[in-house]
Symmetry: D3
Amino acid sequence: MERLLITGAAGGLGSMLRERMRGRARVVRLADIAPIPDPQPGEEIVQCDLADAAAVDAMVEGCDAILHMGGISTEQPWEPILQANIIGLFNLYEAARAHGQPRILFASSNHAIGFHPVTERLDADSPIRPDSLYGVSKCFGEALARMYFDKFGQETLILRIGSCFPEPKDYRMLSTWLSADDMVALIERMFEVPVLGCPIVYGASDNEAGWWDNSKTAWLGWRPRDSSEKWRARIIERDGPPRPDDPVHRYQGGMFCFEPVRRVKE
Amino acid sequence: MERLLITGAAGGLGSMLRERMRGRARVVRLADIAPIPDPQPGEEIVQCDLADAAAVDAMVEGCDAILHMGGISTEQPWEPILQANIIGLFNLYEAARAHGQPRILFASSNHAIGFHPVTERLDADSPIRPDSLYGVSKCFGEALARMYFDKFGQETLILRIGSCFPEPKDYRMLSTWLSADDMVALIERMFEVPVLGCPIVYGASDNEAGWWDNSKTAWLGWRPRDSSEKWRARIIERDGPPRPDDPVHRYQGGMFCFEPVRRVKE
Amino acid sequence: MERLLITGAAGGLGSMLRERMRGRARVVRLADIAPIPDPQPGEEIVQCDLADAAAVDAMVEGCDAILHMGGISTEQPWEPILQANIIGLFNLYEAARAHGQPRILFASSNHAIGFHPVTERLDADSPIRPDSLYGVSKCFGEALARMYFDKFGQETLILRIGSCFPEPKDYRMLSTWLSADDMVALIERMFEVPVLGCPIVYGASDNEAGWWDNSKTAWLGWRPRDSSEKWRARIIERDGPPRPDDPVHRYQGGMFCFEPVRRVKE
Amino acid sequence: MERLLITGAAGGLGSMLRERMRGRARVVRLADIAPIPDPQPGEEIVQCDLADAAAVDAMVEGCDAILHMGGISTEQPWEPILQANIIGLFNLYEAARAHGQPRILFASSNHAIGFHPVTERLDADSPIRPDSLYGVSKCFGEALARMYFDKFGQETLILRIGSCFPEPKDYRMLSTWLSADDMVALIERMFEVPVLGCPIVYGASDNEAGWWDNSKTAWLGWRPRDSSEKWRARIIERDGPPRPDDPVHRYQGGMFCFEPVRRVKE
Amino acid sequence: MERLLITGAAGGLGSMLRERMRGRARVVRLADIAPIPDPQPGEEIVQCDLADAAAVDAMVEGCDAILHMGGISTEQPWEPILQANIIGLFNLYEAARAHGQPRILFASSNHAIGFHPVTERLDADSPIRPDSLYGVSKCFGEALARMYFDKFGQETLILRIGSCFPEPKDYRMLSTWLSADDMVALIERMFEVPVLGCPIVYGASDNEAGWWDNSKTAWLGWRPRDSSEKWRARIIERDGPPRPDDPVHRYQGGMFCFEPVRRVKE
Amino acid sequence: MERLLITGAAGGLGSMLRERMRGRARVVRLADIAPIPDPQPGEEIVQCDLADAAAVDAMVEGCDAILHMGGISTEQPWEPILQANIIGLFNLYEAARAHGQPRILFASSNHAIGFHPVTERLDADSPIRPDSLYGVSKCFGEALARMYFDKFGQETLILRIGSCFPEPKDYRMLSTWLSADDMVALIERMFEVPVLGCPIVYGASDNEAGWWDNSKTAWLGWRPRDSSEKWRARIIERDGPPRPDDPVHRYQGGMFCFEPVRRVKE
């Protein structure tokens, strides 16, 4: 790779990828609406509001691979989600179309299917069940990515990320955790395969109590190696056993299912 | 019904429904961004830009049933689609939530699945394949409707309308045609059933060469009675036999699949 | 047919079949625990408690076809259901095995799947969801019938009857109604086909708002001709429109889902 | 159509099509290994052994549509089946490839799936279960047709014909009968549709006790109108009720399942 | 756990669990119709006939978790199965309902699906195929458990146990073996998960030649660790290679499929 | 085993199996149309043209197990494929039928499904998509094997071999590679199981980027141990990263999809 773009590079996931992807492209371009600290050799820093079409175009130009972690990644009022995840995503795909259609990793989310109960096993063909405005914006993004693929051949890996943190933080994450190593391994595969298409992949490590079945995309060759299991006892000891009446355990989206819908920040 | 709201009432579909729904509610409120001609007794006229949240709120207030035909209904540049079909739809659902959650008919479209080939039979669980920005905006709407159902119990009938005209206009519409009578019959059923949920229904008459299978929603009791068949010979005679190399016959979405993507009107 | 046995012949369904099957066998043997009024030429009357194995054996002896309508057909306490529907059914199958394995129509019930929501379309492979002790006893009966088929070749048509009355009595029965004519037509087919096996068939007429799909047993050649539709307007006029908050409309089993479980009559 | 080729035109199916297709093309070319009696204006007569590659090439040249009824159509020893249905079919597809790839109706057979039991409902994705060498040769033909489609774009309608006779001859044909009218209607559709692809269609009329579900190819617009039902009573009266121990009723392929395999005629 | 009830505690499976569950609850209550030898500190001994409703009620009172291994666990005549597995199970669920609905492990059996051939892979949605009265009684139990879940929220893990012995005893058990360690691991998970529902799980270790696929309940987090594989060579050496004509190898239920049906012990 | 026949024993796969199967039968009979070098004790050498029925009969006589690797194994003109893979296979099955129906491993090929795209996961029920005359001949063979099973009980393991070489030779083989050890392990299982039937199995090792799912035949107990993964880096280093525009990466059949069809060698 000549130039790899990581959007949302000041965020949690973006920072992690910045670390991990260092040296995997001649140049790594880091973009965020927030300032990105501490530039390193081989890095380019771009401050960019995704809602600004011209800025997004400039951000994408010259890149041959995109890890799109940017945008809102929690439940938020409609206005910021609209700007970053809807308008911003359209801007990104238009910029990619203008600049040679680099392969895109689109950070979708388990919140696109969050209203499925925790006693259900899903795969890439399970119906969407967004649990929040955030989740709806990810459904929009998946639809947009698919249309750009069918119409223009733009390849995207749609990754419905569970919970990508250094370690699982609570009982729910024992099912949803995605390790940094496993995520990086997936990124390697998606840029190695000669044909990617536009598959939907669930972003979780090989957790024992997993909810998501990636067997339909086994052809990618991604086999997560990590597991949340070693944190199970510790989490239960610390937080107590999970309570049946705790709503977080009702749906796969956890508490997002119970977040209110708001138009603007109050 | 006390007060039925028809949005997009100045448009083709809206005008037809205005005719047909007359007298089925004490008051029929007709809304559009364009002027609505010739008000009748029992009608209320509302001019409303869907992108204007306050206007939409006022439009919805006091209605106990909504036929949402409003918004953009052809492929258009991103900006108008964003305003009417994305921002506008959010406004509509927020207004419905504020005003007692009247049942909604959401005019989705076959263009949400338009990139499926014409040699494929689809049902409500077939994966989305939007063929245009318009189609993507309908996928957004379907996701939003589902989220409001799962989170708030808002009931919507998602109708993926084929081609609702007085008669089929070309060879493709022999597969996609929806008669006004059949559409009205569906509307009757969706307001009669005590439980509606949030089903996806394909809006086509009982056309012989149909692409869409509604058997999963047979519990609604909607059985289209009309068929495009009687126009077949006439269309072929007029237009000549359909040509294999005509791209309109490649995908279910017809020429929408080949429309360019534009940001603004040029 | 030489001798046709109808059990439960004093009950509603049994009486109807008694009328309709007259003359279709040289002898029709009518059995019930209750007295059967008014014997006709060509009829044999047998009073029989299904829980009495010897009596059941005598009842079955000499018959070459069985319509098993007997037993409890509403939600009841455990004790009578146990006697009639569990012990009684075992007695029936043992008697059939002892006497040449006549083909059996087993009156199972929609209450074997009654906890499925009314917005779902089922077929013969849908998972059981009994809604009552009665429904559980029907699941037992289906399992028993299948075992006798796999082990001994005893053929049974498992009929999950909806609501077999002269006409639909309420809004729910617009979905579940089975006309007498359609039931008799099915009986004719099940005795005509050279190979019956042990199929599960839903017993409903061609109602527009049907919940059940019999296409997997289309090879039987049973096509119901009647429809509940002509009663729809009348029922709604009489009872008012169905109310969303009426629990009868929540699940396919209607009010059976809300019946208490009791051990004995109180 | 300019020139329509009917192979096997001296056979039963071919003769019927010769009658019915008269006048639907400027020229109808009739081919068979046997003499074809009584040439009519607008007909060309070709005597052709399908195993003769050069003859087949000449037979196909100049045709823009092919109804391939030729070859062996009953169970026979290996040698004639090899010559006509395997070598002959390869010759036909090579000739079609050389001469503009006219659309082909390939007369496959229910004997490609004949070992499925009569209590099973099949569709186009059901696994093959050939019941004879004849059935195996049809599986070969279906595979060959598919390969020519995927590799060269040659379109074929694979028609698994049940029993195409003026009327059903026995109880089994109540399930398998295909009327001439229905077959001709299908032929009309397959040449009208702008995109045909390479679908598998079961060739049976709208028989009540049908085994085969064509809903996956509903997009073709073929709806059979005829039914075997009106012959049911007559057949049962004439032949007696079908006997459970008659092997013809065990599998869909009827007695083909019990035909011996022979290398050559004895 | 405060008090764990193990029924059938004098039987093979019950004794094993008695050993293994020691110390996992403050009190372990052991129940059986047979005397339970050698009480230990922390154990309560209850002699109980499952057919005795009052006794079952007393047995269940005060328990917050139930491992229901009690009842008949081999093919037996109807009478004892009726008493223990049908009447007894109803008694158990009524007692659980009366006493706070403790979570239940219901020892169902592979004999509920025993008539599936050994060349078929099953999962939780495969149709039941009971192979014996014992198997039918387990189908009854599964239906009862499901009804108590849908109606009252009673959670049960339905475990279709293969063969739970210290080691596989014969060739068939290479497919069906469930190790004690794996069973205990499953019990741990079923009491840990905050939401259990009423899932069907196949009880087998990670045997190489397994017949059952638990992927639909992967969300439980149960991953069996043991395998029968290390006994394969030994069993074949001892018993000789498995013989194709041995009926034990025809169906998954092994010899249960060939056990006679009897009313009472002869 | 008394006498094991390996056909195609002079070819690559045959030679490998000759090595590996040595000593697993009292006699190993090696057959090929080409001379087989260097006979060993315990080996019988047979030169045999598969198209010669009498020779094939003699080759099979006295064998109680057959590994049929013989015939054409690459894309070739029609004539040699017809002789070896079609006529030859019929000869083989007729000989097996005449001589006690020894179990057969039929070397089918991934080229029977080669036109499926590389972004699809297949299993035994996926539709055939032959990519060549060779692939069509394998579909013929699979159909023939199935017919001999349904009609005569002849058991065959249909193995759709990927690429069985000492090591993967190129990027595509990272998905299709089958190690010799894994193949031999499968052969052991297919002769050990008491009931084999006629399953379709994909012949690939446990490669990370696998296309084929054998879970439906998990009951066989075959678990491949090897993986192509350790060659990945080496192959990419040697050949460069796989190019998106290289047609070999479009379909699972690789370059076979682009081979011309020829009648005879030119």
